[in-house]
Symmetry: C2
Subunit: 77 residues, 2 copies
C-alpha cells in the first residue's frame, strides 16, 4: 500500500521557481505555456491500511506549510 502526498504552493502565493520554469520552457520552444507551479510529490510506502486521520495530521504538521501550501493525499491500494 502506498500514500502519495502532493504539496503545491497556494494559488495566491508567488512561486518564483514556477515562474523560472515557465520562462525556461518558453525559451526551449513552448512559447504558448501559461502559468507553471512547482511543488513536491511524496511517496510513502505503508505496510497496512493506514489511519487516514494520522496521515492527514502528518501532512499538515510535517509535510506541508499550511500558510503557503495546499496538499492532496491519495491512498493507492
Amino acid at each position: 500500500m502506498k500514500a502519495v502526498v502532493t504539496v503545491m504552493p497556494k494559488q495566491s502565493v508567488l512561486d518564483p521557481q514556477g515562474a523560472a520554469v515557465a520562462q525556461a520552457m518558453r525559451h526551449h520552444g513552448l512559447e504558448s505555456v501559461g502559468k507553471v507551479r512547482v511543488g513536491k510529490s511524496i511517496e510513502i510506502e505503508l505496510p497496512a491500511e493506514p489511519d487516514e486521520s494520522t496521515l492527514h495530521g502528518l501532512c499538515r504538521d510535517l509535510l506541508s506549510n499550511p500558510v503557503i501550501e495546499d496538499y492532496t493525499l491519495e491512498i493507492v491500494r
Copy 2:
C-alpha cells in the same frame, strides 16, 4: 488544459530527503512507515492541445535529470 509532470528519484538512487521524512514520520507517531521518496510535482497550464513529443523533450531536458530521476507526464483535459 493542464500537464502534470511528476519527477521522482530512481529506485536505485539514494534519497536522503525521503529517508529524513520517513524518520520524522516515525517520530511523529507513524512507526510502521516504510520507504519514503520525495520528488517534484510540476503543474503546467497550457492554452491548447500540446504537442506531446515537445513536452516529453522538455521533461527530459529541462524538468528532470535522467541520470538520477524518472518522470511521468499526465495531460489533464
